[in-house]
Symmetry: C2
Subunit: 209 residues, 2 copies
Amino acid sequence: MRMAELSDRSGVPVPTIKWWRREGLVPAGRATATNQAEYDQRHVARLRLLSVLREVADVPTAALRSVVDAIDDPDRSLHEVVGTAHAALDPGPHEPASEAASAAVDTLLDGLGWAVGVDAPARGSLARTVDALRTLGRTVEPDGLIAHARAAAAVAAAEVNAIDVDGRARDEVVADVVVGTILYEHVLTALRRLAQEHVSRERWTMPEA
Amino acid sequence: MRMAELSDRSGVPVPTIKWWRREGLVPAGRATATNQAEYDQRHVARLRLLSVLREVADVPTAALRSVVDAIDDPDRSLHEVVGTAHAALDPGPHEPASEAASAAVDTLLDGLGWAVGVDAPARGSLARTVDALRTLGRTVEPDGLIAHARAAAAVAAAEVNAIDVDGRARDEVVADVVVGTILYEHVLTALRRLAQEHVSRERWTMPEA
């Protein structure tokens, strides 16, 4: 297909396609004449992926590149792809968390028996949130995070188990891992808010003191 | 205390305090002389709350105002405060979700027995994510969201039950509800990423096909 049809089928405007093409986020089409190229279904899929990551998950262009690199690198393990997706979601830089909050996160992860790299951006994200809660006068003991940790473990296991690896092309599986990691975060966040509305209505429908 | 000490103790720069003061997000101090005012611990607490909501949760100024209005309105039930916090987290406007995705969300919520208002922003957020997954060729059946829904229900119940209402001043309880609703979303998101790293390492540490 030509550029106009590629834009139609992917839903991505032509100028954005050209920009992403120059940035190397989308592979070249097959040259058919000077200034003409032919694109195929793989280009449509790539554009839809980039478009969703940018629009739904606000992934910045530099992070889109690292996602694309992970998809295109045949030596990257699926575990490493998860790490790439996490980095894309949390590009930083951030203020460092306090030592006390970082230590609380270490204690929590040790207690849970989770093996997590020291550089995982979510360590810092959790520690900074613990700092924020402490700034607001809320003590956060590792025990107070157990309900959230159990829920997180349950969804992570369900998500990883839902990835079908057997007999599929590597780039499809990798795209599934990226999409799952990034979009199911939105699924979980939305469902938590919906559950909060339900639970809080049951408990608090009358005005409080 | 004077403005300089208020800034020191809250960690909020004087220009930001003056801006929030003009915007009505922070109550006036007690006037002690022309151009001088005395502030107290409640001003410190308010500034810390606003600062955390803006820096950790990226809540825009207009949404900070609605949070402040909810805290300051003695007739607002805690359930309504939860709704205000959700609106602050999801200010919109957004493209509407497809009818098919909205219907899938309705079916899921009916099946779960959750009572959720038709205007809850998280309904649209979930439906738009379902649309995004479908755009990428992933079918999303309500059954495929059950693990996430159960996890969401568990954390929502733990969060609501952790709010101590008895014998406390209303504005403190309301601030707890706002802080919990907004910051524990970050706690859950970070823990999910940490759990994903742990689970994916267990399953996928060797390079895949």
